[in-house]
């Protein structure tokens, strides 16, 4: 019998899908070990209702650390508190979402606990009583199957890859007050600027509409924005490296090597040829659609569905028909 711990991050008091995926994955792995899933959530006061909902996705218990100074993520505060929570229990594995916060936090906690870390994992099973861990390496050209000879096994999981499963049981939330002293912190967040138009980040989107050189010029992006808007709330824009380097789009939208890695439910590549650097950032997407005038473009090699042709003719029709489809739902 072995328990598994998940870290469920909150942002502005909300616990997002990446955190739910981590909790559900912890519950699945724990049940394969014959144990149960426990969750740590850290934040400012007033989180107990949000933390309580984690029972529905598999948490047997939630340790909720509330402190004014932890309302926003700061590694100097979160690292020690999470490390102490992990050290106080007996866990076979610790699962953290590979979000910006998780990727920042997990290595520090692993170093504090003196255990190795497997990052941005896409496959996690228990085989013959041991964890079988899989992650893409070499820009997705190979998959590494990892073993960890330490306890707990620290793992960050790629968002959007693991399912959220519904559970009947309610998690029991127990609050604690972490001992933190912000005056000793050597890192201070002086400003947080939300995306100008409040749009969803490409790494969090369930649908991504990405544009490349084939869009010809930045003035043509409203065509992609229309498609994104038609696809609804979970959709975001992405971009190839070429158009970011050309200054057409901000770096925050870049998908691929030297940009972001995404794994949405649906990835639509428009006018993107599909260089290996781009594929590295999106090939674990569940469904890939490519629209390109060149039938030999490498993007069609990873696409599930392709349309060959002039994107300037295809995009308006696509946006229009998606909009009417969504309106009929």
């Amino acid at each position: 019998m072995a328990d598994v711990l998940a870290f469920a991050e909150q942002r502005a008091g909300q616990i997002g899908s990446a955190a739910r995926e981590a909790v559900s994955t912890a519950a699945r792995v724990a049940s394969q070990f014959g144990g149960s899933a426990h969750v740590v959530t850290l934040g400012g006061p007033g989180l107990s209702e949000a933390a309580g909902t984690l029972g529905e996705v598999g948490a047997a218990s939630v340790a909720l650390g509330e402190h004014e100074a932890l309302a926003d993520y700061n590694p100097e505060g979160y690292g020690r508190v999470l490390a102490d929570q992990i050290a106080a229990g007996d866990f076979a594995a610790v699962i953290i979402p590979a979000t910006t916060v998780g990727k920042d936090l997990a290595p520090r906690v692993a170093a504090m606990l003196d255990v190795p870390l497997a990052s941005d994992v896409t496959g996690l099973e228990v085989v013959d009583g041991a964890l079988s861990i899989t992650k893409p390496v070499y820009s997705g050209k190979a998959f590494a199957h990892l073993t960890i000879d330490a306890a707990p096994a620290m793992i960050t999981i790629r968002p959007n890859v693991f399912p959220v499963e519904q559970h009947a049981a309610q998690g029991v939330v127990s609050s604690f007050t972490p001992e933190v002293d912000p005056s000793t912190w050597r890192i201070r967040v002086v400003e947080r600027k939300a995306a100008e138009d409040g749009s969803l980040d490409v790494s969090e989107a369930t649908t991504v509409v990405s544009g490349g050189r084939g869009m010809k010029e930045p003035e043509n992006w409203p065509l992609l924005e229309s498609l994104r808007d038609a696809l609804g709330a979970g959709a975001a824009l992405g971009a190839s490296r070429a158009v970011v380097d050309a200054g057409w789009r901000p770096h925050g939208e870049q998908v691929g090597q030297t940009g972001k890695t995404v794994a949405p439910k649906l990835y639509i590549a428009v006018g993107i040829s599909g260089a290996i650097q781009h594929l590295a950032g999106m090939r674990t997407s569940q469904t890939i659609v490519a629209i390109n005038r060149d039938a030999d473009a490498p993007i069609f090699g990873v696409a599930d569905y392709g349309i060959v042709g002039d994107l300037f003719e295809i995009l308006p029709r696509l946006s229009e028909e998606v909009a009417s489809l969504k309106a009929a739902d």
Binding site: A118, F143, A144, A195, E204, Y305, V308, E313
Partner: protein, 255 residues
């Protein structure tokens, strides 16, 4: 305690030699067959070298030192960094696997007591994508660490860092000495000039055996990526749109 003002800035950049992204990878069980593989400085580490050179230039004086752990052939990567403008390099020869903590321990033992106000890393290595060694080294050295820095500026005894987060930008102030991991941001790496390449040949490049740190995370096996079901061209031009949407909805359940 009064903090130093950095009119002279010493920066150490940790770099990793990785297979070129474009190169074909043949797996041979637990590793890759290096035959015919071209190796490069991991692209994120090039951003870090560029960032180090710019911050030294902004301070007006100082040094940029490179540090790498790997096989003797990694000398080549360090020479490339020296050609960009770094002043000196140290290669710790030894095994470097996927256990980032084992790597971090080796680097931290070398960096313990370093006079560098900044230790920079690429945000991740382009080969194993573990994105962990920088913050681990910082934790072991008890230095603060800011990850995913798109640009920064040294102001007095702090570095003001801009980092991209989900749906926004965060401005973070970190006390020096600090560890930063650098992403692409504004740091398009400079090309090495011919003069730089010539000068690099005379710059100090030291090599010594790394302290050993046993790996507890290992690659049991490398495999081909799971095959994607063969894709299909739905059609040509806008007339293919209705069929695409039907497939996305009914077959892929993606809409």
């Amino acid at each position: 305690m009064p903090q130093p003002e950095y009119t002279s800035l010493n920066v150490t950049v940790c770099v990793k030699r990785v297979p070129d992204t474009e190169t074909r990878i043949r797996t041979d069980g637990t590793g890759i067959d290096p035959t015919g593989v071209k190796f490069i400085v991991s692209p994120y580490d090039e951003f870090a070298i560029e960032a180090a050179l710019r911050s030294k230039e902004a301070a007006g004086d100082g040094t940029v030192s490179l540090l790498s752990l790997g096989e003797a052939a990694a000398q080549e990567s360090l020479r490339a960094g020296l050609a960009m403008g770094a002043d000196s390099a140290l290669l710790l020869t030894g095994e470097m696997g996927m256990d980032g903590l084992a790597t971090a321990k080796v680097l931290a033992s070398e960096l313990d007591g370093s006079d560098s106000a900044l230790i920079l890393f690429g945000v991740k290595a382009a080969d194993d994508d573990q994105q962990q060694v920088g913050p681990m080294v910082a934790t072991l050295l008890n230095r603060p660490c800011v990850t995913g820095v798109a640009s920064f500026e040294v102001k007095g005894d702090v570095a003001v860092c801009h980092r991209e987060t989900e749906g926004g930008v965060e401005v973070t102030e970190v006390d020096l000495p600090a560890v930063l991991t650098i992403t692409k941001g504004e740091y398009e790496p400079r090309y090495a000039s011919l003069k730089g390449i010539m000068a690099a040949k005379r710059k100090p490049l030291e090599q010594k055996e790394a302290t050993s740190s046993p790996a507890r995370l290992r690659v049991a096996r490398l495999s081909e990526p799971p095959p994607r079901a063969a894709g299909r061209i739905v059609g040509e031009g806008p007339d293919a749109v209705p069929e695409l949407l039907r497939l996305l909805r009914e077959e892929a359940n993606a809409l």
